[in-house]
């Protein structure tokens, strides 16, 4: 039977149809389709208090008289929260919690299995996945869609480092990471970068390797050029552009 709470309550043609069917005493036609909208009603007459611990007793005809408080279909449509299971364009990747319109979520994401409801169990699963990405073993990790994009970007990336000529130990990982940030706008932590084993002594072209999330490694060509101040570099660029246009 319906569980009614005294005072305000929402009349839901709610989800538990199996429960309703099991407890049907009278032949009632209950809609099989999902609840389309919610109407909030209030009892007109006050129900007298019952004993502590016992539900209120509804006996009179007047307890069935309701007053409309508001119809939720006139409210602005709220968004629903879902956790994505795959990469969805414009929303995010696997494990991201997104807010989408109810129409999109119910007609597209949930039926096609692109997202799941953020129940506590689901949230736990995806939080675990994220934790494994940072701290867990390499075999268990799954590459994120942002990681894949970064890998694609790095495959076509080139680095130019200006160094003063006696390069004894000056080319450290920190210098290369700083160069990545300054020139390409990529943040590379020290543990993700690998420089060639033999220490570099001369100017020229070399490789360096960047590991994204510990899974994919990209070789980025790195060229050591003689150090030039930024002012002089700008002048040189201008000179290069002028003959091109001419």
């Amino acid at each position: 039977m319906w569980t009614l709470v005294s005072g305000r309550f929402a009349l839901h043609n709610s989800c538990n149809f199996s429960y309703v069917k099991a407890t049907l005493f009278r032949a009632q036609n209950i809609s099989q389709t999902a609840c389309k909208n919610t109407v909030v009603v209030e009892r007109w007459w006050q129900v007298p208090l019952s004993q502590e611990g016992r539900p209120p007793r509804l006996y009179s005809n007047r307890h069935k008289v309701y007053r409309l408080v508001e119809d939720m279909k006139h409210q602005p449509q709220r968004k629903m929260e879902l956790i994505l299971t795959q990469t969805v364009p414009k929303l995010g990747g696997r494990g991201d919690t997104v807010f989408v319109k109810k129409s999109l979520g119910r007609n597209k994401l949930l039926p096609e299995g692109l997202a799941v409801y953020p129940s506590p169990e689901n949230k736990h699963i995806y939080a675990e996945e994220r934790r494994i990405l940072c701290e867990g073993k390499l075999e268990d990790r799954i590459q994120t869609w942002t990681g894949k994009k970064t890998v694609e970007f790095l495959k076509s990336a080139k680095l130019e480092i200006g160094m003063h000529t006696p390069i004894k130990d000056k080319l450290t990982k920190e210098v290369v990471c700083r160069r990545f940030l300054r020139m390409l706008g990529v943040v590379v932590p020290l543990h993700a970068l690998t420089l060639p084993e033999e220490p570099i002594q001369e100017l020229g072209d070399y490789w360096c390797e960047v590991t994204v999330n510990g899974l994919d490694t990209v070789r980025v060509p790195m060229s050591l050029v003689p150090f030039m101040e930024s002012r002089l570099m700008k002048l040189r660029k201008q000179e290069e552009e002028q003959p091109n246009t001419e």
């Binding site: 929260e81 995010g92 991201d96 919690t97 997104v98 807010f99 994220r130 990405l133 940072c134 994120t144 942002t146 990681g147 994009k149 970064t150 970007f153 790095l154 200006g162 160094m163 003063h164 920190e174 210098v175 700083r178 940030l181 300054r182 706008g185 990529v186 943040v187 590379v188 932590p189 543990h191 993700a192 960047v210 590991t211 994204v212 999330n213 510990g214 150090f227 930024s230």
Partner: protein, 330 residues
Amino acid sequence: MAASSRNLLRVFAECQRQLFIARVPTSVCASHNAPRHHPMRTYAAAAKPARKQKKDEKVPTKDSKEQEEKKKLLQKQKINDTSRHKPYGLTAWAPVDDVYLVRYYPRQVYEPEVAVDMLKTFQKLDFTPEDQPVFLDLQLDMKLEKKKKIDPFVSTVHLPHPFKKDINKILVFTENPEEARVATENGAAIVGGVDLIEKILEDRITADFYLAVPDMVTKILPLKNKLRKKYPKSKRGTVGVNIPEMLALFKTGHEYLVERDSYIVTQTATLDMPKEHILDNMRTIIKDVVAHKPAEFGPLIDRIIASTKMSEGLWLKCEAFLPQEDVKEA
């Protein structure tokens, strides 16, 4: 049929009015109408153009339209991001991977101490000189109430750890010989009276600051156009009776001004100074800036960027500089 011919007539009349020439418009008249010949009439030029001029005045010219559009583009529409699952135009609130592209995530805002440390490491890793200047870039919110703004101001601050090696050159206007003596004792470069005016007009003498006694203000008027911004003004503190005090402020003072309505870009220190000195200087300047707006109208500073001459700018947290000291010290 009749209606269409009437419309056509109206159209034709309009064309004629605009072109002042009677034409036989073969394109306008439909084929089933006989071609209409109208007598050649030259209209009086004054009639219509008067109306047109009014219209032009009301409608803004192309240049000002472009300027307005540019202004609108510059003032980015602030979209309320907080309720969304990710900020507009970016991938997420915070990066998930260890290697990521900075432009897909919201800009990182740093604590001042962290930022100064970062600037120092940048200097070492980029092989740039150690004594490069550290700049502070502030964007101000100059609005007060309805349709009222703070005027762009110029002010001088006394920095706790000055980075300038040489003292500012100061010129003092006084007629009184005693005051002149006091001024020269306290370090004024040039002291004089009315006779200095000619020399300044001829550009023989220049100075960083010009101070004056209230009696001299009327006599210095011819220099107003010459000195412009540096002209002595009681509001700025360059006109006063207490000469030693003014000299003390302006000798070692650091001057900054508001450019382009709401931006301040000043040098605060040099990178080889210890971290605490740089931070102290920044805090003094920001305190002085904040004093220009009464507290009821909201915070004056929109954003703070710290940078050196050869590095990128790092955004600083404004809350760290607010007078609520407990938040900062915690």
